[in-house]
Amino acid sequence: MKKLFSLEKIKALSYPAFKTLMIIHFLLFFLVILVVSRAHFSIPGFSIKGLYQFPNIWQFFPWVASWFNLFLAIVIIILVGNEFSFRTFRQNVIDGLSRNDLIKGKLILIFTIAVYTLIMVLLAVFIFGLINTKNISFDIIFENSYLILIYFVQAIGYMTLGLLISIIFRNNALSIIMFILYFFPIEPIIRVMFKAEARNFFPIKIISNLTPTPEFLTMASEKSYTNASGTSSLDFSEIGLLPEKLPVGITVLLAAGYIGFFIALSTLLLNKRNL
């Protein structure tokens, strides 16, 4: 494991495109949360500040960061695609790695990037949350903090899908195009062909639902964050403003199942096909 980690470290950190993309990812995330923090609602009784307060921030920040998870998946596609185009996967096997080691190495890379992005969001949550929350208590800070772990699962989900697509197509440009096309329109079109109950079980739907769009109206309502329990005093789902979703636990389990499937299929393809 340590050896595979250090190999991936040399390969990724010395790659100028990787460094550039990760810096852009970092800047975009902070740019969005800074720009949104400056925005003002013109609706009386609502304030953007609610999104930056505990516990709402645990939902808002991972949701913003999730936009850029696609970016991380593209980073993985480029790094894996390079291994095919430079024929270095082939050379690594000649030098003494097994094909399973190649997959393990990339999974370590995916896990490391997911941990990095988790820490990035976590730091942002604490910095902005502590600045903007009044009447801080331990309970309020950590209420809904589990959402960051769900964000972590989502990051791994997108990146393992990127890994699978790059192993299937073995070409950076084609893999990125197919990855984006799968998001839209391929999977949405396929979903439409199925009954409404089945539509929530498709991979992209499941993985993107891990960080659902925050209930902005509830979160931005000044009533909600002044509530002593920290929970919303408004329930918009009751009046039909929010769509029905699968329970979080089931969504996470299904996402974990899809991640397992992406990894298993990637391993199978890499073992069966010529390098």
Binding site: L7, I10, K11, N82, R87, T88, V93
Partner: protein, 295 residues
């Protein structure tokens, strides 16, 4: 002698094309084994299969009398086709990756770069090297971890005469250290000068293998002409004088067994009723013999 590589009825297809067909041979420890054949004969495919980067469609192979594991791979230094390294990494960083995979110390990196005459370029990105330098870099990576076996596919590809001689010296010095070396090449001179054994492939099939001296030696060949060449060919094929008889344009090329001279051949033909109208003794080139074998 210990068997380093044993190949049994190995086959590999690319779609409908059979690139390697039931190839079998053995390489023993300490041999310098050449795999010779024209382009497309299956040399690289055979090596790629036994190194685990292509999956075989049939047959089997064993390294060191065991199934091929990643530990066995680390006992082998290989160069297959083009040099495959990360173009954005320096030579040192690329070799660091190889050294890590092989659990070799960092000292091996400088040593290998020194042997390949690339030490001054260690901080240059691989992508900035010329083709010849890239090939020398491949040789350097092969030497990392002091492997017992070297597998080299066209190791002098793209090299200038100086680089050619350098690589040949590296191979020779490694052979002198008792290492087993397997070289795929279509350069006969390279094989003759370096190899002790050779396997000859044609259209994916093994057509001959054995000691270089037995298969490809610079023997004297006698070119003769007489009446009734067909009958003479049959008689000479059955004779103890000859090791090989074949037609070259209008002449009959005869390779004599040891201890027989062209005068013995002339006398034999005369006694059998085939007086010779032409007798020319030539040292046949390796190329002629190779072309004869793969014809």
């Amino acid at each position: 002698m210990e068997t380093v590589l044993k190949i049994n009825n190995l086959s590999k297809n690319y779609g409908n094309i059979q690139a390697v067909r039931n190839v079998s041979f053995e390489v023993k420890k300490g041999e310098v084994y050449g795999i010779l054949g024209p382009n497309g004969s299956g040399k690289t495919t055979t090596l790629a299969v036994v190194l685990g980067i292509l999956n075989a469609n049939g047959g089997s192979y064993q390294w060191f009398d065991e199934p091929f594991t990643k530990l066995a791979r680390r006992r082998i230094g290989s160069l297959i086709e083009t040099p495959n390294f990360y173009p954005y990494l320096t030579l040192w960083e690329n070799l660091k990756i190889v050294a890590k995979i092989k659990d070799a110390p960092d000292e091996d990196i400088n040593h290998a770069l020194g042997v390949a005459n690339l030490l001054k370029r260690k901080h240059t990105n691989f992508g900035h090297l010329s083709l010849g330098m890239k090939q020398r870099m491949s040789m350097a990576s092969v030497l990392i971890g002091n492997p017992e076996v070297l597998v080299l596919d066209e190791p002098t590809n793209g090299l200038d005469p100086e680089g050619f001689a350098e690589v040949r010296n590296i191979i020779q010095s490694q052979a002198n250290e008792g290492k087993t070396i397997i070289i795929a090449s279509h350069i006969l001179d390279e094989v003759e000068k370096v190899c002790s054994h050779v396997a000859i492939l044609k259209s994916g099939e093994l057509i001959a293998n054995g000691r270089v001296g037995e298969l490809l030696s610079s023997d004297e060949t006698v070119f003769i002409q007489s009446e009734k060449m067909d009958e003479l060919t049959e008689i000479l094929n059955d004779s103890e004088l000859t090791s090989k008889v074949y037609m070259v344009e209008n002449d009959l090329a005869v390779v004599l067994n040891t201890n027989f001279k062209s005068a013995d051949l002339s006398k034999f033909c005369f006694e059998k009723g085939f007086p010779l109208s032409k007798i020319v003794v030539k040292k046949q080139s390796l190329e002629d013999q190779f072309l004869e074998l793969v014809k």
